[in-house]
Symmetry: C2
Subunit: 187 residues, 2 copies
Amino acid sequence: MARKKQYNEEEVIEKATALFWKNGYEATTVRMLEKEMGINQFSIYSSFGNKQGVFLESINAYKKRIRSITDKLSKSNNGKEGIKQYFYDFLEFAKEDDKNRGCLVTNTVNEIKEDGDPVIMEQLMDFANDIKQLFVDNLLQEKDNTIEEAARQSNYLMNSLLGLSVSSKVFDQSQLNDTIEFTFLNI
Amino acid sequence: MARKKQYNEEEVIEKATALFWKNGYEATTVRMLEKEMGINQFSIYSSFGNKQGVFLESINAYKKRIRSITDKLSKSNNGKEGIKQYFYDFLEFAKEDDKNRGCLVTNTVNEIKEDGDPVIMEQLMDFANDIKQLFVDNLLQEKDNTIEEAARQSNYLMNSLLGLSVSSKVFDQSQLNDTIEFTFLNI
DNA sequence: ACTAAAACTAAGCGTTTGCTTAGAAATAAA
DNA sequence: TTTATTTCTAAGCAAACGCTTAGTTTTAGT
């Protein structure tokens, strides 16, 4: 009846994700996507609607990939030690060759700001809140920790993780290790 | 002999700074600058060469403005307590109406990445290192603190400050206060 | 083999980007 | 007042942007 697609949508989105991760949303042009994904602009628009559609699918692909370490955290039951391990896992996850790309979601929050596309913004907020909730869950595994205290600590830890997403692009591994160790000293 | 300039270069750069601070470098177009600065594109290019020239002058204007709080830190002599005050001062400094714009320099580092313009990148790195050095100086005011320990602590504090630059755009004041208080418990 | 539907290629659409330029308006020395 | 010099306005440049479309190729049911 009709011709077959010569590409796999999941595969080309993986490649788009890498581009967005490296360059950000605005700086990634449709011509770059065309080249990296290995398919024509027509195919891009026919499969994903528009550039934003490609990006939203890339965010989904990113979430799926990072689930390997968030799952590890949600299964962890040794309190703050599990979160600390998540910090180290995240640094490894975001590493590409010897460079660190930070977190795709954090990068995007930084880029598109408050007047950015509301659909994308909501996606990003949900993602951050999910991780923060994982922190709270793990912090409550520590004995004598109240919900209020865990909430405060999770704010502190999220701040540190956001900082790490930025720092990892600029500072070297030993500086990052120091940062993580200090972060978990007194909670 | 010749016609007089109808604008003051410092004044129009102040307005350009506000625009870059709010929107970032790439998202700020020359047409937007034209409108905000209140002068024609010809005047912009004749005074500052190109868009990057306007931005570099804006970075200088930003540095001059933030000097009010960095000066306070460099004059401070009560160790980590002075740095903590700097964190609160920074949040106040970056506030615009009820929104927080973060740090112009941090925003730009996040935006232009490693393959960005080397001239801009160097400016940004110098700025970050200057602040980090101020942290070290103040940390050495604490008794029994070694240079190595102060260096490690300054990495941790810079990470927290970078995180705060991001967090302040998303979280509310009480969450930020909790974060700062927790940050200084550890050192 | 024929045909209809989907997927391909490649050219090109209108808009916006950073930047330039032709020409008018203003200024101060002569 | 004339003249030389600079600043102004406004139109326009090539290139790059996101996106579309005309026309060809491939496929599977008849």
